[in-house]
């Protein structure tokens, strides 16, 4: 097990390093960063040269990269070109909101989708199953901006249960979380169902019944643990997307998360902030994947011992 954990950890760190290098490199792929920054402004050649020197873009690329790396290791991803504040700090302030939103959304999604998937699989082909799967298909197909507007129209405007937007207590969190939860909820419910149906056809399920196990044990212990593996992958993936920022949801509800903030930074060509946002999001994504790998190893001995 420890060998497995160590290998996964090394892999996670290497991935993180590779991602940050790519993020750094992308800046140069889009053309001269200074020219892009000054595009549309009446800047003369001397202004360009001055800014280039001030930002360190006149140094050779390897030096710039080493400088970026050594600063990054110390948690310095440069300062915002607009406000002058440290980029990482600016992004970090927003990350808390994003994490809150993602956590509540994923909790909602799981609380609904797992029981729905199990019930659908157990009563396959029944009216309940068909109704639930129809609903989940609808949920999976509805565009998120429309769901958000619908939520506002019904729960904020008509029923006045929740505020239509902004940030504050849990009251403000609920509608955006529900909106964000809908797609993964539908997707995970369908996946739980299909994964469980697949597992229920396996030999070891028949063998468990043949040795006299109660049906509750056959399904609740043997089938569920085996069916969990593919579900975990998708849950982690969806959660990762959420941590990267839910731009549309945040825009609709005016939620001050990292997604909307990053889009604004892109519009303002504030590349240190964009870099910080991408590096942080990918860092969380990689950490999440590492946790999933650990969970896999814990659940499946074939992975743990290989």
């Amino acid at each position: 097990m420890w060998r497995y954990v160590r290998r996964r950890l090394v892999l996670a760190v290497l991935t993180f390093w590779a991602v940050s290098t790519i993020v750094w490199g992308l800046l140069y792929l889009t053309g001269d960063p200074v020219a892009i920054l000054l595009a549309g402004t009446p800047a003369g050649q001397t202004d360009v040269e001055q800014l280039r020197h001030a930002l360190g873009f006149d140094r050779p690329l390897p030096i710039q990269y080493l400088h970026f790396l050594s600063a990054a290791v110390q948690g310095d991803l440069g300062n915002s070109l607009r406000s002058g504040e440290p980029a990482l700090l600016l992004v970090s302030r927003r990350v808390g909101f994003t994490v809150q939103l993602a956590l509540l959304a994923m909790t909602l999604a799981l609380v609904v989708s797992i029981p729905v998937g199990i019930v659908s699989a157990m009563f396959r082909g029944s009216l309940t199953d068909r109704t639930l799967m129809l609903l989940s298909m609808v949920g999976q197909s509805m565009p998120i901006f429309w769901v958000g507007l619908l939520m506002i129209a019904v729960f904020a405007v008509e029923l006045r249960w929740f505020p239509a937007g902004g940030a504050g207590g849990i009251k403000y969190l609920f509608l955006p979380a529900a909106t964000l939860a809908l797609y993964p909820m539908a997707r995970i419910a369908r996946l739980v169902r299909s994964s469980l149906l697949d597992v229920l056809n396996r030999d070891y399920i028949l063998a468990a019944r043949a040795r006299g196990l109660r049906e509750a044990l056959v399904v609740g212990k043997h089938a569920l643990k085996n069916a969990a593996l593919p579900v975990i992958t998708i849950v982690a993936l969806q959660f990762g997307y959420m941590l990267g920022g839910a731009v549309i949801t945040e825009t609709i509800f005016g939620w001050p998360g990292v997604g909307l903030f990053t889009v604004t930074a892109i519009h303002e060509r504030d590349f240190p902030v964009v870099q910080a946002a991408v590096v942080l999001a990918s860092g969380m994504f990689i950490a999440l994947n590492f946790l999933v790998d650990l969970l896999y190893g814990w659940l499946d001995p074939r992975i743990r011992f290989s």
Partner: protein, 324 residues
């Protein structure tokens, strides 16, 4: 053999509805098993062997349906509650499968899965479960049983995993063990060991065994009696020696002729022409008639019934073969 049979199956039918009509996987299957007897259930793939034994344990899943009379140790299994039936499974009646690597749950230890048998049957709950589980592994000659309890299925070889399955089946001290192609997925060198183990179990524990196989050579080594199935029906049942010496049904004869045998110089093995019939579109009359070299007009119009010839042999044929 004059004691009452351990298992009596009469007119067992198993049906699966499909969009193209219902499939009768077993159609009027009848046979008996006496205590501590090894009975071979033989036939080609899809002839209804496995489904018949699943029905015996009432493990045919919906939408599949089954009917008939199953009497086990004097109890009518069709009349038992699901709870009583569950206690019987893994208790007095156990089953092992073709591929032990897929029949063991990969994410639980072998010890855990053996312990489940004890935990699921109140009548077996005596003493320490781990000790009992280790004894199970010891019984099927797995070295170092206590340590092996913590191992996962993928850490065993196929042969060892099949021993684990057999041990698990024996944990409830069954009077009937159903073995569904227990050696088919194993290396040839391991097959003999597993067959030896089954023989030893019968000797020591007096467990009756229904051995499902498509390999007549295995039944010749192991079985007291053989039941031959074709297209969902029993076509012949006979003590092993008599069956091999003088098969009565042309299908049995075909199976024997397609089997390599020592001391018989034959240029090539015979094969039975054609395919088994589609169970959704069965021929009128005898189901084997389209492939039968001896078929006559009557075979194509009138369905034969299983008749006893009084010497413990049964055959379903209008024109059974005489001794060669």
């Amino acid at each position: 053999m004059r004691e009452p049979p351990l298992l009596e199956v009469e007119d067992l039918r198993v049906e699966f509805p499909t969009p193209k009509g219902s499939v009768r996987a077993a159609d009027g299957v009848s046979f008996r098993v006496w205590p501590s007897e090894i009975v071979g259930l033989v036939g080609e793939s899809g002839c209804g062997k496995s489904v018949t034994t699943l029905a015996l344990m009432r493990l045919v899943r919906p939408p599949g349906r089954f009917s008939g009379r199953i009497v086990f140790k004097g109890r009518n299994l069709m009349a038992l509650s699901e709870h009583e039936m569950r206690l019987l499974r893994g208790g007095e009646m156990a089953m092992i499968f073709q591929n032990p690597m897929t029949a063991l749950d990969p994410v639980f230890t072998v010890g855990d899965q053996i312990a489940e048998v004890f935990q699921s049957h109140p009548q077996l709950r005596t003493g320490d479960v781990r000790t009992a589980a280790a004894a199970v592994l010891e019984q099927v000659r797995i070295p170092n049983p206590r340590a092996q309890l913590n191992a996962y299925p993928h850490q065993f070889s196929g042969g060892m995993a099949q021993r684990v399955m057999i041990g698990m089946g024996l944990a409830g001290r069954p009077s009937l063990l159903i073995a569904d192609e227990p050696t088919t997925a194993l290396d040839v060198s391991v097959q003999a060991q597993i067959l030896d183990l089954l023989r030893a179990i019968r000797e020591k524990l007096h467990t009756a065994v229904i051995l499902i196989t498509h390999d007549l050579a295995i039944t010749a080594q192991l079985c007291d009696r053989i039941v031959v199935m074709y297209a969902g029906q029993v076509v012949e049942a006979s003590p092993t020696r008599e069956l091999f010496r003088a098969p009565r049904h042309p299908y049995t004869r075909g199976l024997l002729d397609s089997m390599p045998r020592l001391g018989h110089k034959r240029a090539r093995l015979e094969q039975i022409p054609g395919q088994p019939p589609d169970l959704r579109a069965l021929p009128v009359g005898c189901r084997f008639a389209p492939r039968c070299p001896r078929a006559e007009e009557r075979c194509r119009t009138e369905e034969p019934v299983l008749v006893s010839s009084g010497d413990g042999r049964y055959v379903r044929c209008h024109f059974p073969l005489e001794a060669r």
